[in-house]
């Protein structure tokens, strides 16, 4: 008979380490926090039942140091490892090694991670499961092949170099004449840049929304969804503000969620996961990738569904079954999460490491703060700049925005610059306020 873990190792740092610690403590599970030398005075270490140093500051020697992490779990008597997000959270090999050493990896099965974690493999699985993906051509030998594809799919399209990457060599084409004009130039450019002229095309989504569905599976065929989050507000592919539910029509929301569940069921997914979709203005939605872990923005979902996803991860991993049931899950109200980063928004968001000399987080109704910092805490320069997540819940989106503005105005962080002034601008933006938000929001609506 299964029982809750007696002790787990937290193989992460910062706010997510604290989040996991809180969930474990509420379930009566002891925590061992694995930490690098740079984090010895961090809040998760200070609050943990036990802590164990697993290496020096650089992540490859500590938070990515598989041997030390596994040894730390084994010598401390932990029965399971929670990887948080980032670092080793989506590393199938690490998940497999945990199992080999008799440790439960709190996440999906290793094979799920490798199958759905690889982007090409994930697209193929989506097609098999009947989940729409952005239509793409194969390699295009010449303009006539490109023209045939364009006739089939329709404009706009995006030309990409097969050997390219990171956005380089991409051209958006809006018409046949556009395509004719650009095709051979693009070939030449691809040859010059990557030594390979091969091109392919994908449907180009103008001003899509980034919508992601929170799913949860028990690994035994049962998968539920916990509705969606709208994460369209991004700066250089980094999410800035997440909210739920989205402003999409109820029918479309339901269809996307149903697709995500279908995909997760297709691979018999276990634990918490997120299926990301791009949604265009005509209501088309396209699977882009699946994240096989708890996400930074999971509190948005927790606030609107009154669930505890990290506790649920522990329960499912411990073999106690999934408590979540689709019929009992409903959306109540609206939640917005802001990522407060120690960055200077006035100077191109450059990191602002240093000592937080004073900090005063907001409180009162509907406000949740997930933060690992405190007055006197030195932000190490080795890791990311996230210092807090502020989440505001209210019955409606409008009220949640007002509440978040109120909360930010009572927040004080001294000693380092933060992104709060930038967040206030986003909250005050008229396009944001009416939900007119797409992935190009910051570039298009926030450039001064």
């Amino acid at each position: 008979m299964s029982a809750m873990f007696r002790k787990i190792l937290i193989a992460n740092r910062g706010e997510i380490a604290l989040r996991i610690l809180r969930a474990a403590r509420e379930l009566g599970v002891q925590t061992v926090v694995a930490y690098s030398k740079a984090d010895e005075n961090s809040l998760p270490v200070l609050l943990a039942d036990e802590s164990i140093c697993i290496g020096p500051a650089p992540a490859p020697e500590s938070y990515l140091n598989v041997r030390n992490l596994l040894a730390a779990a084994l010598v401390s008597g932990a029965e399971a490892i929670h990887p948080g997000y980032g670092f080793l959270a989506e590393n199938a090999e690490f998940a497999a090694m945990c199992e080999e050493h008799g440790l439960t990896f709190i996440g999906p099965r290793p094979e799920s991670i490798s199958r759905i974690g690889d982007k090409a493999s994930a697209r193929a699985l989506a097609v098999e499961a009947g989940v729409p993906i952005t239509p793409g051509s194969g390699p295009l030998p010449d303009l006539s092949a490109a023209t045939r594809f364009a006739d089939e799919i329709g404009f706009p399209l995006i030309l990409k170099a097969s050997a390219g990457g990171g956005g380089r060599g991409m051209r958006v084409v809006h018409s046949h004449s556009d395509l004719e004009r650009q095709f051979y130039n693009a070939q030449e450019e691809a040859r010059a840049a990557f030594g390979n002229p091969e091109l392919y095309m994908e449907k180009y989504l103008e001003e899509p929304k980034h919508i992601e569905i929170q799913v949860f599976g028990d690994g035994e065929g049962n998968v539920v969804h916990l509705f969606e989050r709208d994460c369209s507000i991004q700066r250089r592919y980094q999410k800035v503000l997440e909210e739920g539910p989205s402003t999409l029509a109820a029918e479309l929301r339901a269809k996307i969620a149903e697709s995500a569940v279908r995909l997760a069921k297709y691979i018999d997914y276990r634990g918490a996961g997120t299926c990301e979709f791009l949604v265009d203005k005509s209501g088309g939605y396209y699977f882009s990738e699946m994240n096989t872990r708890i996400q930074v923005e999971h509190p948005v979902t927790e606030m609107i569904t009154q669930t505890d996803l990290v506790q649920e991860q522990l329960r499912v991993a411990a073999g106690l079954g999934m408590a979540l049931q689709q019929s009992e899950l409903t959306v109540r109200g609206h939640a917005i999460e802001l990522r407060v980063n120690a960055e200077d928004p006035d100077h191109d968001f450059r990191p602002s490491a240093g000592v937080i000399t004073d900090v005063h987080w907001p409180g009162g109704p509907g406000i949740r703060v997930d933060s690992h910092v405190y007055a006197g805490y030195r932000i190490p320069p080795n890791y990311d700049s996230l210092i807090a997540k502020i989440i505001a819940w209210a019955p409606s989106r409008e009220e949640a925005i007002a509440r978040m503005e109120r909360a930010l105005k009572e927040t004080v962080v001294e000693g380092v610059k933060t992104t709060i002034p930038f967040h206030l601008k986003v909250l005050g933006n008229a396009f944001f306020r009416r939900g007119d938000v797409y992935t190009n929001f910051i570039a298009r609506r926030m450039s001064s």
Partner: protein, 162 residues
């Protein structure tokens, strides 16, 4: 700035212990000095904002069992043990003082060691990692008991260099 504003400024200043005040714009310069001058002035230097290092994406450190050198050897800061060299654990694992359960310890307090002398074993994931001395000296302290877990950087021995 008119007289009324200056007066309000003076009121505000009166409530503080500010001794010297200068305010300069393109149009004018205002200087106020009160009482004794400060004997010493210190300026705050903001900590150099080091550029944040990118965390390498999903790089798993190769875990091939390479011979471990007791890397972070550091002289302890001050005081009685000032001359002693600390041997710290380079990996996480279980400390073994002897090569086998029924064997004697690799080293005891008072033992003389040379560079390369095995001091202990740290077992991590069923691999026995021998920890060697980096230089010659005399073992002055053994800080961990046989079979105890050790974390990265934990001090295992203190050695007086020869």
């Amino acid at each position: 700035m008119d007289v009324k504003e200056i007066r309000r400024l003076l009121e505000a200043l009166a409530a503080t212990d500010v001794r010297e005040f200068t305010y300069e714009t393109g149009d004018y310069k205002l200087t106020l000095k009160r009482g004794e001058e400060a004997r010493q002035t210190l300026t705050y230097l903001p900590p150099a904002a080091a550029p944040m290092q990118q965390v390498p994406a999903q790089a798993v450190q190769s875990s091939a069992p390479a011979p471990e050198t007791a890397a972070p050897v550091a002289a302890s800061a001050s005081s009685p043990a000032a001359r002693l060299i600390e041997v710290q654990a380079p990996i996480v694992g279980t400390f073994y003082a002897s090569p086998a359960p029924d064997a004697g310890p690799f080293v005891k307090v008072g033992d003389r060691v040379a560079a390369g002398t095995v001091l202990c074993i740290i077992e991590a994931m069923k691999l026995m990692n021998e920890i060697e001395a980096e230089g010659a000296g005399v073992v002055r302290e053994v800080l961990v008991g046989n079979g105890e877990p050790v974390e990265y950087g934990q001090v295992l021995f203190r050695i007086e260099p020869a």
